[in-house]
């Protein structure tokens, strides 16, 4: 493409569109005016889209780093601060999270397009190699970024991910120590991953991107469906024709990313807790396939899954332009390459789905394991050495320092929808003795549907009896007497009422959803010892209008008469 220097009255077809206010340096004008080969169009939008997503990741990443503090004592707290308190923080975090996934998808589509169009042949072999390395860098971003929020998901996901190089023969243990910075995932791992995520990988990305884009410009776009070496027929110029298609593709990608960021957002689970023994590690979706290899190859075959297969795949991908010696680009002349490509794509997708299914199953099994039957252990009253005021104050202090609010506070739904109960009326709902016993040894109360793991389970904080007593005393002061009118003496009901309640309990088929002494169905809460757990006022209010107490509950409003309700409450209170 030749240009007359200083040609300002450029009105010829093909150059007229660049208005004076858009007068650009010649190199960029050449780029804009480049005549693309015939056949270039919608399949060629993925490269530009990926570039736009990477730019978005750089901008949102820089913004997040302004408030993020990479240490085990502040990482989770600062992410939560970004999420809850910084203007547009949740949106920016959501965009960063979803654009990461989107860029992997678009990179895969870009790779697939280049493969199908056989655009990797000489002289574009090194363009392909730089592109594949860029894909690895993107995966590296995903792996290191996953740890940064320092929540349960991050901690256990990284623990498993770093075990993979650790399982290699001979060098494994040393490698593990170097990657983690210490024997276990901890503060050094976090700073290492942060450094990789914001310094090393961006540097690698910049270098590879420059090489990749330079080579793309230098060799031009491959003329589609021609023989290798044949010159393509020039057609439309890049600007505005291909630029329009690129813009539309970028717009679609950005809209999808923003919708996901607003609609679902970026998850933040409870803070990393190395003592949690029931958490099922789950890597980001694009590593599920790799993780599944470890399930298939175990024992002495493990090295196949950890090193041999991923390593050979990477080598195959990188050297493919040299392995493919065909000169034709038309698909029907490349049956072997096409077959291989389809088999590889199906394998990767299949392994990812299989890995997803396996994680779901493991989580279901863990949730079942958690629902062990409860046997209350009423301890004899502890020696009372503190006044009840002190106890309440200590309990409040514990409530604050242990961050119970993170899951049970009024704003909890912003982060984790649904599960942990609102404790703002704990004193109206739960009996103090029960709360104390529960806090010493938490156990699951609500069941989950088969295969569904609850987002959160109450962790065992290993409280001492005294701490549990203080917390229970504090929670007992958290009442809502307007909604749950207190019953002065908590009467246990007359024998007649209890008998009538038992009859009603059977009539209304309560066992259809509830368990009493291992009879019934596990849909609603276990009612075996409900008489020692819930308060009369709460049971009464809940049976009157379940939806008003727990919005969205699956408990039906049976529209009971007052006497019926009193009888049922009496029966439930007798279940001690």
């Amino acid at each position: 493409m030749s240009h007359e220097p200083n040609s300002t009255t450029d009105t010829a077809v093909g150059k007229a569109s660049i208005r004076p206010w858009l007068r650009l340096p010649h190199t960029i004008r050449d780029l804009f005016d480049e005549r693309l080969p015939k056949g270039v169009g919608w399949p060629h939008v993925f490269g530009s889209t990926l570039l736009a997503l990477i730019a978005l990741q750089i901008v949102t990443g820089v913004l997040l780093s302004l408030n993020y503090a990479a240490s085990t004592t502040t990482a989770w707290e600062s992410v939560r601060y970004i999420q809850d308190r910084v203007v547009f923080g949740a949106l920016i975090r959501g965009v960063h999270h979803w654009a990461a996934s989107a860029s992997i998808v678009v990179a895969a589509l870009h790779l697939g397009r280049v493969f199908l169009f056989a655009a990797y042949r000489s002289p574009r072999r090194w363009t392909w190699v730089a592109g594949v390395l860029l894909l690895f860098v993107l995966l590296g971003f995903g792996l290191t970024g996953y740890l940064l929020p320092w929540d349960l998901k991050a901690y256990f996901g990284t623990k498993v991910a770093t075990e993979i190089p650790g399982s290699l023969p001979v060098v494994g243990p040393y490698l593990l120590q170097i990657i983690r910075g210490s024997a276990d995932v901890g503060p050094f791992t976090l700073t290492r991953f942060y450094s990789a995520h914001v310094i090393l990988l961006p540097a690698a990305l910049a270098i590879l991107l420059i090489v990749h884009l330079y080579l793309v410009r230098r060799h031009g776009i491959t003329p589609p469906w021609t023989r290798t070496g044949a010159a393509g027929q020039p057609a439309y110029s890049f600007f505005p024709y291909q630029a329009m298609k690129d813009t539309v593709a970028i717009l679609v990608a950005l809209v999808i990313v923003c919708v996901m960021a607003v609609w679902i957002g970026a998850p933040l689970e409870a803070k990393a807790d190395p003592t949690n023994s029931t958490y099922v590690p789950r890597p980001d979706w694009y590593f599920l396939g790799l993780q599944h290899l470890l399930r298939i190859f175990q024992g002495k075959w493990q090295i196949l899954g950890t090193a041999v297969i991923p390593g050979l795949s990477a080598v195959l991908l990188l050297t493919w332009p040299w392995l493919d010696r065909n000169n034709e680009r038309r698909l029907r002349s490349r049956p072997v390459a096409l077959m291989l490509g389809v088999v590889c794509a199906i394998t990767v997708l299949g392994m990812t789905f299989a890995g997803f299914a396996a994680v779901q199953e493991e989580e279901g099994r863990m949730a079942d394991l958690q629902t062990v039957p409860f046997s209350p252990t009423k301890e004899s009253a502890e020696v009372v050495s503190e006044s009840s005021d002190d106890l309440v104050r200590n309990g409040e202090r514990l409530y604050v320092t242990m961050r119970c609010d993170a899951c049970h506070g009024p704003e909890r739904n912003e982060i984790i929808p649904g599960l942990p109960p609102d404790l703002s009326y704990a004193g109206s709902k739960l009996q103090e003795d029960w709360m104390r016993d529960y806090l010493v040894a938490p156990h699951p109360i609500r069941y989950q549907a088969d295969g569904v793991r609850p987002l959160l389970r109450m962790p065992d904080f290993r409280l001492s009896n005294g701490e549990a007593r203080a917390l229970a005393s504090y929670l007992a002061t958290q009442t809502d007497v307007d909604r749950f009118v207190p019953v002065p003496t908590e009467p246990k009901g007359t024998p007649e009422q209890i008998a009538e309640g038992k009859r009603l309990f059977a009539n209304y088929q309560c066992l259809g959803c509830h368990v009493v002494e291992s009879e019934g169905n596990r849909i609603g809460p276990d009612l075996t010892h409900v008489g020692t757990r819930l308060k009369t006022a709460y049971l009464d209010a809940f049976l009157r209008e379940p939806e008003a107490v727990i919005p969205g509950t699956s408990m039906k409003n049976f529209e009971l008469w007052d006497e019926e309700r009193a009888a049922l409450v009496a029966f439930l209170q007798s279940q001690e």
Partner: protein, 156 residues
């Protein structure tokens, strides 16, 4: 065909530029909001006790070190700061030690009875007025009050 081609092309070019500009603007809005977020933070305005009010008698300014909880979003840090308690026209005043020129900490020189800045030679008298050097303004005064016999100053 030849006549319509430039106009179609020009139209497309405008659409592309406009769309990209629109996307850039929409995406920039949250980014700007996020960057401006610190401006929306409420100042803490907390009152901090720095000593028993009765011990501050007229004379040379006393250098007091005090601690308070500095809330920084997700963390609360115990922070140590310094203030000078002195008198001006029979009134108790508490001066910030931060020189108004470039923000160095001034020290009180007993022989000259002046606050002197080690950085660029700024000098203030006992009530904080500039007497020499580059400082543009007198030393900042804290708001004060006395509660339960303690002298308290307001940290902003």
């Amino acid at each position: 065909m030849i006549k319509s081609e430039p106009s179609r092309r020009t139209f497309l070019a405008r659409v592309v530029v406009a769309l990209n500009a629109l996307v850039a603007m929409v995406m920039a809005t949250p980014a700007v909001g996020y960057l401006l977020s610190p401006l929306l933070k409420r100042r803490s305005n907390q009152w901090v006790a720095i000593g028993k009010a009765s011990k501050f008698v007229a004379g040379i300014p006393q250098r007091m070190t005090f601690e308070y909880d500095d809330e920084a979003g997700y963390s609360v840090e115990r922070t140590r700061r310094v203030a000078f308690v002195g008198h001006s026209e029979n009134e108790l005043i508490v001066l910030s030690p931060v020189c108004t020129h470039m923000g160095c900490n001034v020290a009180f020189n007993g022989t000259t009875s002046l606050f002197e800045c080690p950085c660029h030679g700024g000098k203030y008298d006992m009530s904080g007025r500039v007497v020499d050097g580059p400082p543009p303004e007198p030393l900042r005064r804290f708001q004060t009050r006395v509660r339960d016999g303690n002298l308290e100053i307001q940290i902003t």
